[in-house]
């Protein structure tokens, strides 16, 4: 059923790959001299073998161009005169978590392995326990020496993110969700992102699948997952060829792996606590902050080396719900932006029309082809969007107000 995820190093001779009978496909994470250079997944017969030659020709087709570009890039960089040396900021890494001690421990283990070689002048790790019901989270954190623990009693991801903002000391504040594991190059990736664009207000990075064991996980990755590619990109307040930018903030990255200039976040007033509240409005907070960073005139930089592996939803119903939250979160974020930033009203209205057209066409297309599961995903996203448009942001504001009042 599952796909094997294998990492290959293109600069070294490749080894053949043979799957077990339980595996019906593979996903390759390719590196060139240690740097992430590509991802490719393919369905095969169960227990298939891939000879060295087959693997090479696959790599030559899918990854070699990037590898050659990385080589050329290295030469360009040595040819360039060195960049003016600026002092690197200190880094705070915040993990917001709720009742998922095992996954948290897994992430902390990957972080602590990379921690001693951090290129930043100082690096702190901060776990924000977002109203977990028991003490397991605290206990998990205590296993890792030097990791700070903060308890945020008000349930809601953006309450936790704002708590992190308040307690962090770093100039740069990186957020990780508890369902990811970092790539071994993650810290250097963020550093490379920062040194390539120190003026940026925020950074996003690559999100690869942690495992592809279930149908839902494979399906999610096949449909694009969180992938934003292996090319470094910059996002500004406008974009040639995309007249609706920056309203469609989803292209920038995902909230499970993002970092910001902390002083900018403070001046923007932090995250919107009415978004990303967990049920019933579990989304939109990342879109909102990306959008506000761009609207403040600062750059958002996407850096593929700044990579994490995300544990996708396990079952099809969970996945369907995820698409539902995407629609819901997107529309809640748009409701808010239309209210708070009316200068872009034309773009905001246009993207709602665009989005409805897009989802309706996708739904019609998959229904006509009798791809019912896919139609279900589209319908879920569309339905989430409709609820999002029908006053969900306002309901969320009321709920959040209540939580604030109830918590001393």
């Amino acid at each position: 059923m599952g796909y094997r995820i294998v990492e290959i190093e293109l600069a070294e001779p490749l080894a053949p790959l043979s799957l077990t009978e339980a595996e019906s496909g593979f996903a390759i994470v390719a590196r060139w001299k240690g740097r992430l250079a590509g991802f490719h997944m393919e369905k095969t017969a169960a227990g298939a073998c891939l000879s060295t030659a087959a693997l090479s020709s696959l790599a030559e087709e899918h990854f070699a161009r990037r590898a050659l570009a990385l080589e050329a890039q290295a030469e360009f960089v040595t040819r360039q005169s060195p960049p003016p040396a600026g002092a690197a900021p200190s880094l705070s890494i915040a993990i917001c978590t709720k009742d998922r001690a095992k996954r948290l421990a897994r992430l902390l283990a990957s972080l602590c392995a990379a921690w001693p070689t951090s290129p930043f002048p100082s690096t702190e790790i901060l776990v924000v326990d977002n109203a977990s019901v028991d003490g397991e989270t605290r206990e998990a954190v205590s296993q890792f020496e030097g990791v700070r623990y903060v308890f945020e009693p008000r349930a809601g991801l953006d309450f936790a993110r704002n708590a992190a903002l308040e307690h962090a000391t770093g100039g740069l504040l990186a957020f990780l969700d508890d369902d990811v594991v970092i790539d071994r190059d993650w810290l250097f990736g963020l550093y490379a992102g920062w040194s390539g664009c120190p003026e940026a207000g925020g950074f996003t990075g690559l999100v690869l699948p942690y495992r592809l064991d279930t149908e839902a996980q494979i399906e999610f990755e096949r449909r694009g997952g969180f992938g934003r590619g292996f090319e470094a990109r910059r996002f500004h307040s406008a974009k040639a060829g995309n007249p609706l930018h920056p309203v469609g903030a989803g292209i920038l990255g995902a909230g499970c792996n993002m970092a910001f200039d902390r002083s900018l976040l403070l001046s923007l007033g932090g995250f919107d606590e009415a978004l990303d509240t967990g049920a019933p409005l579990p989304g939109g907070g990342d879109l909102d902050i990306f959008y506000r960073v761009l609207r403040s005139g600062r750059i958002m930089a996407y850096e593929p080396r700044y990579a994490v592996y995300h544990e996708h939803r396990e079952t099809i119903p969970q996945l369907r719900r995820q698409y539902w939250t995407w629609g819901l979160g997107f529309m809640a974020y748009l409701t808010k932006s239309r209210r708070s930033d009316s200068a872009l009203k034309a773009k905001q209205d246009a993207i709602i029309r665009w989005w409805l057209f897009d989802k309706l066409a996708a739904l019609a297309g998959s229904t006509c082809r009798l791809r019912l599961r896919e139609a279900g995903f589209h319908a879920a996203e569309l339905w989430g969007g409709v609820i999002g448009m029908a006053g969900e942001y306002d309901r969320s504001l009321l709920r959040v107000q209540k939580i604030r009042e109830q918590t001393p």
Partner: protein, 438 residues
Amino acid sequence: MAERWDIRHVDLSAALPAIAESERPVFAVFWWRELPLGVRTFLPEELPLGRTQIASLAADLAAVQLAARLEHFGGPARATFDGRAVLSIPLDAIRSSGDLLGQLDALAETTPAPASDISVVICTRDRPVALAGCLARLRDQQSPPGQIVVVDNSSRRTAEPILSSFPDVQYVHEPRPGLSVARNAGVRASRCPLIAFTDDDVEPYQGWTREIARAFSNPDIDAVTGLVLPAELDTAAQRFFQLEMGGFGGECTPLIFDGRFFAETCPKGAQVWRVGAGANMAFRRTVFDKIGLFDERLGAGASGCSEDSELWYRLLAGGGACLFEPRAVVLHHHREQWNELRQQVRAYMQGHVSALLVQADRFGHRGNIRRIVRQLPAYFARTAFRAIQDGASLRLQILQEEVLGWLGGLRYAIQPGWRARSKLPCGTAGLGTGGVRS
């Protein structure tokens, strides 16, 4: 779309320059000295470009050039069905590479290839000022062509007075209207073994003839096309044509279109228009001897356009090979007025459909019909949907012209007697039908 765009040419081989700030949007053309690498567009908010950003852009563009041009990196690149290159680069070559930028330097090296084997043919009709600009650029070629022929397709002979300033240019008057007719007159008046065509609204770069001559140094190549860049993007019509409709392309990857490309795409209608543009194309004279001249039912002044792609079709169907060589660069002045653009788009579509009919008739290849009755209507439906989705009313206007052009092309098919005129003019040795003056 309201604003004028700047066109900037950036040489990445110099110590990497950043693109400076700009008040206007920028259409950037990236070069490695005289080797074009690619085009990108930027809004003022996206500028200036940072050093790392430009290094990664330069590296991506460089990798494509190396892979498409160098044998050890898997080159030369061949076109796949949609006219794009699939680059498959041997890993061993990358592992043992070294000094990639040196190799790029070598690719950008210009050889002083003589162009005395080239006859340049320019067909013109009532655009004397533009023609003078084109001729001035041809006079400045680093490798002067063996012959320049101007074919005046105007009944009033409007090009003739201009030629007094260009004594070396040969004047041919072709009073019968039609670009194909004029081009054929040009072929007949030409003397050299290579014949290059350009238009009166085009300004060739200084190395244009040299690069065409170099491209033909490969004996397997029968026809060459080159890069057509916009000369300016000042008006809404020009920007729409370039930025929304893709202009005449901006890809800088050299590509070979050969029998394999043709065979792969023939069942669905070989996408020969991907080969290039008539504003920048060249042929060996032997091609005309073998497969005949331009079909005079096609082209501007007759069906509307596509006389160029129909000739590539015949060439590829007969096992010939075309090379798209972006080193041969020209600038094209797009239509300035919105109405001119609308007319042009309609003419393009009408000419395209007529050419598909002619190709189907001549070879019995059904893929051409399939394109007319299935692919094009599907394209119209998709475009309409997207235009409504994007709220792009200008796109709908243009789409309307495309649909009318499609209908016009079909009407062409029921015109009595068009099949009777399918015999191709041939013979390249004689002189044009009009008066010749040297």
